[in-house]
Each structure stands twice: as structure tokens, then as C-alpha cells.
Amino acid sequence: MWSEEEIIITSLNHSEILRELHDSVVEGDDERCVAAAERSLEAGMLPLDAIEQGLTPGIREVGDRFGRMELFLPEMVLSARAMQGAIAVLEPHFAAGETTVKGKVVIGTVKGDIHDIGKNIAKVLLTVNGYEVIDLGRDVPLTDFIDISEKEEAQIIGMSGLLSTSLPLMRDTIQLMHDDEVRDKYKVIIGGGPTSQAYADRIGADGYADTAFEGVDLCDRLVGIEA
């Protein structure tokens, strides 16, 4: 049994470590964040507590500040890197069956379109909100969306584009999924300048998001997590 004094010290340590996890994520300091994750294990914290009470509130603050334009894309990327570094330290210590990953998303900008900033924002927001994101980049052949989703056993395929010429390729991808008899295995979402809910409905996508933030809510709904 721990003495009352030991419990108070441990609690203080835990609270200090959680603050450090939070702050280092907000500041995008990956070295500090990894060190704090290591300290949390040494202090006997449960890895999931370190994530849910330290890292997650930090990254949520980053997302909120990004939405208010108090922080910008590069800073959010650094925060995501810091958080991922800490999770890599904590993950091997999860109990059997424990996970923080909501689902796996394969994301990319379709063939012929090199406008990828919107997709990059979506990638970071999904990552910091608990998704494993496989980023195929820009100018992605439609077959890659399917083949890599199959290989990675993803749940969601996200296609993005800014040009109006990108739209038919989103429909082609969905058609090819039907042809390959894999359509039912994935939720397909679209986003970007010329896309709309009406177009998503017309081509048989499972969802459309107007912003990257809405994209996170959409994925949550599609994998069965209520906001």
C-alpha cells in the first residue's frame, strides 16, 4: 500500500507529466513530447491515460486554434509529429486489445490534379483525431486508391481535387470498385473545390465534407463514432 504522501507525490508527478505532454504537443516540440511519454511510463501511468488526458487535449487545442487561425498548417504538422512520436513510445505498452486508432484512411488528390493543400489539412486533422492516414499524395492514379486500400486494409477512401476535371475520376474510382467487387468494403468520401453533396450523391460516394474539420466528423460517423 502507498502512503498518503506517496499518493500525493505520484499524483503531482502525473499531473506535471500530463501538462508536459499537453504543452509539448501544443508547441510542436517532438523531443519534449517523446521525453514526456517516456517519463509517463517510468512514473507508472497507464499509456491510454497519457494519451487521453495529456496528448489528446493538447492536440484538440491545436485544432481549435488552427480553426481560429491562431496557429497555421506547419505548426499543426509539427504538433501532429510530436504526438505521433509520443504514441510510438506508448503504444508497445498498451494492454492487449487496447487501441487509440479509430480507423484507417487512404487519402489522395486524384490523377491530373496537383492541388493538395486541402488534402494535406485533412490528413493532419484526421491524424490528430485518431485516424491512421495513408497519404498517397497528389496526382494519384485511381487504381492506387483501390490497390493500396486493399493492401492496407483501410476502412475509408478519401479523394480530393480542386479542378473540375478531377470529378469524373472520383466517379471512375467508385465504378472500378464496383467492377472489382470491393465497393462494399470501404466508405468513400470526397472533398475539394468543385465537389458537393449533390455530386457525392450522384456518383454514389458515402460522404462529402465541405471542410477538413467536417471531414473528421464525417469519418467518425462512417466508422460509427458519434460526435
Binding site: 487561425m69 498548417l73 506547419p74 496537383i114 473540375s164 470529378l167 473545390g193 468543385p194
Partner: protein, 460 residues
């Protein structure tokens, strides 16, 4: 030759590999340092600043950023670099005025400064907006060509070609681009303006093969017309964009370099986008040997790329002022609207872009257009370009202070609906397309907005 495009080809594969995300992340700390060093400050109440000193400081910041950052090449993952001396030598050797088009449709592009009474060029068109192919497309182009304020004609995006959707890198993409420029040529002939210069990025073409395939003296882009070659956001290029530039230059065309500094993106706040946009403008002159830049700041909050957000208007103004006060390299302002045709909002958006551009030492257009597609077709008409052109002419020579007052009033008209802009009507609902006659409702809106602008002091 002022630009160094031939050297650019040499430099594409020089130096060490730089990973894209490392290049992107390095931008913001540099921007923050320059914003502080050069005291660049966004002011919501001064969309068109009257501060010459800040304009000159922004030019210095843009130059420093261009030299430090260079331009990342997607295909080689290397960074093309130019020295300050190379950039300044290029700018000091630019020639003005330049002439485009032929016969009585000739257009003179002159160097302008903020508040200058020198005539600006107005580019009417709808690049980015999906329009039905054939007759609708041709008649929309006729509307642009007929507008007396419009100096050049810019394309729209045909939604279909021969009833088929166009895929990038497909043969139909090449066919569609050739068809599209053919419709524009037909349009300017049908309104008796066959010598009008064209300023075209075929809307069917996402890639360089069709963009290059339209270079054709008989029915495509001719010597001294304009072809687009963009700089990617932020400070990036690729073989595709540079191939368009090389093809254009070696066939005697002019390069129009589109750039889209993003507010909220890799360069951070509005001040950062202004520095990045100024730097990219200088890169366009040096690396692409461009004749003009088409500046199109975008805002993270507006997914359709509208340039009518107060912060994008500010960025357009200060980039225009910085560059026009310090060299003769011309900047046009890509006008993308948020609302659609058939609304008063879109007319205020068209007007404010013209006012901001011309009072800030720039040229107006191409535009006004908007990103549409899918089921969202034909939501554009010629009347928005008339408003943009007339507002530009009316604000020519106006003080920045007065232009700012009018601009703020325009913004207050549409800003409350920016998050959910009015959906508007199609060109078929706004015109009798057989005779190209504007409906009473649509011209009534136009007259109402015009009267309001007059009341605010714009001699339109």
C-alpha cells in the same frame, strides 16, 4: 532576354534533395521573422492601404524570402535558387509598354503604379467555372468579347466535350482543349473583334499536353497571345508547369503565371501570404520569363477559392502595390467570386475586386469566375465581367483612401453571407440565350448595384 528560363532548366536538378514537408515547414519561421523585420501588418479597416513605406518594405521582404526560399521542384525534389542580383537584373531589364492583339483590337499593357490614371488591362472570362459546351460556351465568350471595357478574353471550363466528361491525360483532354479555343476564336470573330488577344488556360486541360496543343496560328493561340504556367503553392514548380512555359516562350506566346498564396496555409497569416505572393511574383519573372502574373490569394475558410474575403483583397492590394512601386513587372488579379450569377452579392464582389486591383497599381482579371463543377454548371454570365470592368475604369486614378472606403462598403454588402453565399441562377435563366438579351430581373439588379456604387462616390 530578361528572364532566366533557360537557366531554370539547368537548375532543376542542382543541389541536394529536400523533402517536401521539410521545405513546407521551413517557410513559416522564415515568414514570421520577415513579418517582424519589415513590419508588415494586416488591417481589416484598410483593405487598400495608403502606406507607400509598407509597400516598399513588403517588396524587400518578398525579395529576401525569394532568395532564401527558392522554388521547390516536385519532380526532382530539389530547390531552384536565384540570387538577389539575378532577380534585380531581370526586373531592371523588363520593357514596357507591350502590345498584344492585332488591328483595332490591339491592347497596350503599360506600367502602372498605385493610384495611377494609366489605363489598366481588363481580362474578362470565367476560367474555373463549368459551362455547357458548344453554343452556351461560345455565346458566353461573345459576351466577354463584346464588353467595351474588356481588353482580352479568357476561357471558361466546358463541362463536357461531345457530351463526354474529360479525364486528365486522355486524348479527349487534348481534343477538348483544341475545341474550346476554337469556340473562343469563333466567338471573337462573330462579334467583329477577331484581333482581340486571348488569355487562355483551357478549362478542359489539367495537364500540359492539351495546354500546349492549343498553340496553333490558324485556330488556336497565336503568337503574342497568353498561355498559363502556374507557380504552385507555396513557391513550388514542376516539369508540367515549366514545360508549358517553355512551349509558350519558344512559340512566341506570353506567359501568364498564376500564383495562389494561401492565407492559413504554409505561409501562415495574411501577412505571410503577402510576402510569399510577392516572392512568387518575382520568381515568375525570373524563372518563367513571364509577361504578367495572375495573382490569386486564397483563404483557408473559402474552399471555392474566392478572392473576395477581406484578407485576400488586402493581400492582393499590398502585393500589387509592392511590385508596381518597385518595378514594371505587371500583375493581374484573378477575380474569383463566392456568390453566383443572378445575385447582387456577386456584382459587389466583382466591383470590389476591380476597385482594389486598379487602385493598387494592378490590372484586373481574369474573371470574375468561381470554382464550380459537377452538377453546378452555367452559374455564370457576362454581366459580372461588365461590372468588374466598369468598376475598374471608374476607379482608375482614384486615391487609395477613397477606393478603400468604397471597397469596405462593397464588402459589407456580401460579407454576412460569405459562409453560405446565395446560389444564384444559370445563364439560361438570366438571359434569352438565342438573342443574348439580359432579363429585366438581372439587369435590374445590375442597375441597383451601380446606383449604390455611384452613391458611395464611384463614378461608374
Amino acid at each position: 532576354m530578361p528572364g532566366l528560363y533557360f537557366d531554370t532548366m539547368e537548375r532543376l536538378n542542382m543541389g541536394k534533395r529536400v523533402h517536401e514537408e521539410d521545405f513546407d515547414i521551413a517557410i513559416l519561421p522564415r515568414i514570421r521573422r520577415l513579418v517582424e523585420k519589415y513590419e508588415i501588418k494586416y488591417d481589416r479597416e484598410e483593405i487598400i492601404p495608403s502606406d507607400d513605406s509598407m509597400a516598399d518594405r513588403l517588396f524587400a521582404a518578398g525579395l529576401e524570402f525569394a532568395v532564401e526560399t527558392g522554388m521547390w521542384v516536385l519532380d526532382t525534389q530539389k530547390v531552384i535558387r536565384y540570387s538577389e542580383d539575378e532577380i534585380l537584373r531581370c526586373l531592371s531589364n523588363l520593357k514596357m509598354p507591350l502590345w498584344f492583339g492585332s488591328g483595332r483590337d490591339q491592347v497596350c499593357l503599360e506600367a502602372r503604379k498605385p493610384e495611377s490614371s494609366t489605363r489598366s488591362i481588363v481580362l474578362g472570362g470565367a476560367a474555373g467555372s463549368s459551362v455547357s459546351e458548344g453554343d452556351t460556351y461560345t455565346k458566353l465568350m461573345m459576351m466577354y468579347a463584346m464588353e467595351p471595357t474588356n481588353d482580352m478574353v479568357t476561357n471558361a471550363n466546358p463541362a463536357y466535350i461531345e457530351g463526354r466528361e474529360v479525364r486528365p491525360f486522355s486524348p479527349l483532354e487534348v481534343h477538348g482543349a483544341i475545341q474550346e479555343v476554337g469556340w473562343i476564336r469563333e466567338a471573337i470573330r462573330r462579334v467583329g473583334r477577331p484581333g482581340k488577344p486571348l488569355f487562355v488556360a483551357p478549362g478542359t486541360s489539367a495537364t500540359s499536353p492539351p495546354a500546349i496543343a492549343v498553340i496553333n496560328e490558324e485556330r488556336g493561340l497565336r503568337k503574342n497571345d497568353f498561355i498559363y504556367a502556374a507557380i504552385l503553392t507555396e513557391m513550388k514548380t514542376d516539369y508540367d508547369r515549366l514545360s508549358r512555359a517553355v512551349a509558350g516562350l519558344e512559340n512566341g506566346l506570353n506567359i501568364a503565371t498564376l500564383l495562389a498564396p494561401m492565407i492559413g496555409g504554409w505561409a501562415g497569416p495574411a501577412e505571410g501570404a503577402a510576402i510569399s505572393g510577392t516572392a512568387a511574383t518575382l520568381m515568375a519573372a525570373v524563372a518563367y520569363d513571364a509577361t504578367i502574373v495572375v495573382n490569386h490569394p486564397v483563404h483557408m475558410d473559402l474552399k471555392n477559392g474566392a478572392t473576395t474575403h477581406p484578407q485576400t483583397l488586402w493581400a492582393e492590394s499590398v502585393i500589387g502595390q509592392a511590385v508596381s512601386r518597385n518595378c514594371v513587372f505587371p500583375i493581374g488579379q484573378n477575380v474569383f467570386v463566392n456568390a453566383r450569377a443572378g445575385t447582387e452579392d456577386v456584382l459587389y464582389e466583382a466591383a470590389v475586386n476591380g476597385i482594389v486591383a486598379v487602385s493598387s497599381g494592378q490590372h484586373t482579371g481574369p474573371g470574375p469566375s468561381g470554382v464550380t463543377g459537377g452538377d453546378d454548371i452555367d452559374m455564370i454570365s457576362g454581366l459580372e465581367a461588365r461590372m468588374m470592368g466598369e468598376a475598374t475604369r471608374a476607379a482608375t486614378g482614384m486615391s487609395r483612401e477613397q477606393a478603400n472606403e468604397i471597397a469596405l462598403k462593397c464588402i459589407s454588402e456580401y460579407e454576412p453571407r460569405m459562409a453560405e453565399p446565395p446560389s444564384g441562377k444559370t445563364i439560361h435563366e438570366l438571359y434569352d440565350m438565342s438573342t443574348m438579351t439580359i432579363t429585366d430581373e438581372w439587369i435590374g439588379m445590375y442597375d441597383h448595384v451601380k446606383a449604390q456604387l455611384q452613391e458611395w462616390g464611384l463614378p461608374i
